[in-house]
């Protein structure tokens, strides 16, 4: 469960405004083999790119939770070291997504309280949920409903940014969609695209901490500029007018 005691050394001495990101990852049996390998690879590339960039290194705060046979805090906030990430393994038939999300929210909340206590500015936290299935296990549905309610309330008050991500074809997209009230559809990827998914998350977090990109933009995946594109002749003609 989330640690409530606040240890100042876990926060570092950076004065940067922090972006706390909690990954909440599915490690049920169906993730075994290539998907979990890709997930580990994507995650460690993500961390490496955060650490290689001066703007994100001290501004991005990361925790990782897995949900499989049980919910585990693989890496709490403030513990990102040089030794790299612990390997994440897939197992069992259970998928306690709801419990995973509730634990993630507790971690994020404790981190926010820590920032406040230390006087550190922060961006509203990110919850990144990645699953390839549907809630399974004892009380899984009831907990999922609790998790959805909690997420919706926080998101509505602009206190949480949610990335609800489904992998492959066995995802219960209907329930995953309900995790976010702002994202029109869950983000859908194949496990072969984990690399790109984490690159996207990396560049988005970098945009937030270094360019001040608004949270709303994180829900809009459109890429084309909105204005009208003109060729060079029209461009100069327009400027002369």
């Amino acid at each position: 469960m989330a640690e409530n005691s606040i240890n100042a050394s876990d926060f570092g001495t950076s004065t940067k405004r922090r972006l706390p990101i909690c990954f909440c990852l599915d490690t049920s049996g169906s993730m075994m083999g290539n998907p979990i390998k890709q997930l580990n690879q994507g995650l460690s590339n993500f961390i490496a790119s955060i650490k290689a960039n001066d703007d994100t290194r001290s501004a991005t705060d990361i925790a990782i939770i897995t949900f499989g046979s049980s919910v585990e805090i693989v890496m709490p906030f403030g513990k990102i070291g040089n030794e790299g990430l612990p390997e994440i393994n897939a197992s069992t038939t259970m998928t306690p997504i709801g419990e995973g999300i509730l634990t993630a929210l507790e971690l994020l909340n404790a981190r926010k309280e820590g920032y406040k206590e230390q006087g550190i500015k922060y961006y509203q936290p990110w919850l990144v949920v990645i699953t390839d299935g549907a809630p399974q296990g004892p009380n899984a549905m009831a907990n999922m409903e609790l998790a959805i309610k909690a997420c919706n309330e926080l998101e509505k008050e602009d206190k949480l940014v949610i990335f609800n991500i489904g992998v492959g074809n066995s995802v219960d997209f209907d329930i995953l969609k309900r995790v976010s009230i702002k994202r029109e559809e869950p983000i859908s990827v194949s496990s072969g695209d984990f690399g790109k998914l984490f690159e996207f998350l990396g560049s988005s977090s970098s945009s937030v901490v270094s360019s001040g990109m608004s949270d709303d933009a994180l829900y809009n995946l459109s890429t084309e500029p909105e204005d009208e594109s003109v060729d060079v002749d029209d461009f100069f003609k327009f400027m002369e007018e």
């Binding site: 650490k51 006087g119 859908s188 560049s203 270094s210 001040g212 933009a217």
Partner: protein
């Protein structure tokens, strides 16, 4: 004789804009001849001298005449006791004081800081105003109202609202581009990438090329670049656009001088980052950096520029004596607005406005300057970073939750880490100015901040404080570098500007040399010098976090996501 008109006055006020604009021309010599032969008293404010420092420290050939002009001005007027320095810096207070002098005339150039201040502050002043235009022709006004009526405010350029962008061809390493001067340059190495474009080294070692992404060159941007290139600001520490760049006859970017170092935000980021970047950093180094930054911004103000988007990532620091303003293509030039800005550094009264939709005032910039002063003095800390405060930074700013006090009581909201001691050791006038700004909502002119910071710098240099703690970057704290990774690299062996053998710059170089044989582990990967083509690992693959991908024009990354219910 164009300046005959000043013979009618017993006393003149000379604004610095007159020296900067007409230094080295016959107008100044004519002026001095008249003043000495007619024995007219000349009054200047304290900002007169301060602005002169801002100019000569830029060593810009564009203003090289200012130094000799000032010498002439002083050597001709001082022996005859005709020059009087009034110990006031702020515009309104100075003019109020000068109104007490009977039959006085204010002599100024038609563009520059004072004209803007008069327009914004509308101070009361009893006296005439003689404004010299571009050609030195004087226009005489009998009041500030009359002056402002005859010189209406510039209107926002209509290009600012154009919703068009140029469809640019993609160019990359190896491509040959042409400058506005017809010079051909080859793009050699990519040295950095950002939301708007990429920066390349070129076959001309003196300049780098910024090439924009698709969707970034708008009519406003191009018009501004054209204007900037014409202005020709040529100071080493200001990475001003030098020339336009075309690829297959289509505008794609501009050239600028090479800046080096890390962004302020990555050096002034708490004790660990600061001491790792500048081992043995002292308070004097911090204050020197700040004074240098203020001089640069004030210098730009003299040319009718408002920087607009002042923030910690828009300047590079290589050493406290070597600072570069970057991203100069966004500044407000004349009636071409600065379309960007951050909530953290912008006056809250401008929040929510479309930055491209209005012209920023110097008064707006004063807030950002105050933010910069606090952020540098406090090694990166935001003035409204508060322990146990409101839910968001936004609320803290709006509620003016500045946790520092002048009385030293109820300071439990100051973030931990020694920031209370930084506050405690600041000179009283700086504390008072910061307190009144962030708690009281008052405003100080950039030149007033420069004056206070310069005085602090002089006091530190002259070792005026008895308590040795006052000279530490973090007084009363014993921080040491945790993972030294100095910005300055020994391989460049750049000229050490200061003769001080104990300069932190030199020490940084030395400590770097000493540790070179040791494995540097993670820090070697993390080390990155913007715009520095020689830095290890500083090629395109190092920029995984290119923020362009999250913004318009970046593209590419989103293609992987399927819309499930299409």
């Amino acid at each position: 004789m164009a300046l005959e008109v000043i013979k009618n006055y017993k006393s003149l006020i000379v604004d610095y804009s007159f020296i900067r604009r007409f230094g080295g021309t016959r107008i100044l010599s004519e002026f001095l001849d008249i003043v000495t032969s007619e024995r007219i008293d000349v009054y200047v404010s304290r900002s007169f001298k301060l602005m002169h420092y801002c100019v000569i420290h830029q060593a810009d050939d564009k203003t090289s005449a200012a130094a000799s002009a000032m010498r002439d001005f002083c050597t001709m007027l001082l022996p005859d006791k005709l020059l009087h320095s009034v110990q006031v810096t702020e515009t309104s207070q100075f003019l109020a004081k000068m109104s007490l002098v009977e039959g006085v005339c204010l002599v100024m150039a038609d563009r520059g800081i004072l004209m803007k201040r008069l327009r914004e502050k509308k101070p009361s002043f009893i006296g005439d105003i003689c404004v010299l235009g571009e050609d030195g022709a004087p226009a005489l006004y009998h009041s500030i109202d009359e002056l402002l009526a005859a010189n209406p405010e510039e209107q926002l350029s209509t290009l600012a609202s154009a919703d068009k962008y140029l469809d640019v061809p993609f160019c990359n390493i190896g491509d040959t581009v042409t400058t506005g001067n017809g010079e051909r340059l080859v793009l050699e190495k990519r040295v950095s990438a950002g939301a708007e474009g990429m920066v390349f080294t070129t076959t001309d070692p003196k300049v780098v090329a910024k090439i924009y992404h698709k969707g970034i060159i708008t009519p406003l941007r191009w018009k501004k670049l054209q204007t900037q290139v014409k202005m020709g600001i040529n100071s080493v520490g200001i990475c001003w656009p030098k020339d336009l760049i075309f690829f297959r006859n289509v505008p794609v970017g501009y050239t600028m001088i090479v800046g080096k170092g890390k962004t302020l935000g990555n050096v002034f980021d708490g004790p660990d980052a600061l001491l790792n970047a500048i081992p043995d950093c002292k308070r004097l180094d911090i204050v020197t950096t700040l004074a240098d930054l203020l001089e640069k911004y004030i210098y730009l103000h003299m040319f009718g520029i408002v920087a607009g988007d002042i923030q910690m990532k828009n300047a590079l620091i290589y050493s406290p004596n070597s600072i570069y303003l970057i991203d100069m293509d966004s500044v407000q030039v004349g009636n071409l607005p600065c379309p960007v800005g951050t909530e953290e550094f912008t006056d809250p009264k401008l929040w929510g406005k479309n930055f491209a939709g209005f012209l920023r005032k110097l008064e707006d910039e004063d807030y950002s300057i105050a933010m910069l002063v606090f952020s540098i003095l406090f090694c990166g800390l935001h003035p409204f970073a508060t322990r146990n405060g409101a839910e968001t930074l936004r609320e803290e700013i709006l509620e003016k939750n500045f946790p520092y006090s002048l009385s030293g009581v109820s300071e439990e909201h100051i973030p931990k880490g020694g920031y209370d001691h930084i506050w405690e050791y600041l000179p009283d006038n700086l504390r008072s100015m910061l307190f009144k700004t962030f708690r009281g909502g008052e405003s100080y002119e950039a030149i007033e901040w420069y004056e206070a910071v310069s005085a602090y710098k002089d006091a530190l240099s002259a070792h005026e404080y008895e308590d040795e703690e006052a000279y530490k970057a973090f007084p009363k704290m014993d921080y040491v570098a945790t993972d030294p990774n100095p910005i300055s690299k020994p391989r460049f062996t750049p000229p050490v500007k200061t003769s001080n053998p104990d300069s932190p710059f030199k020490k940084a170089v030395e400590s770097m040399r000493a540790s070179e044989t040791m494995p540097s582990g993670q820090s070697a990967i993390a080390r990155r010098i913007m715009y520095d083509p020689n830095a290890p690992g500083n090629n395109l693959n190092n920029n995984k976090n290119d923020s362009s991908d999250g913004n318009k024009g970046g593209g590419g990354m989103f293609g992987i996501f399927k819309n499930r219910r299409q």
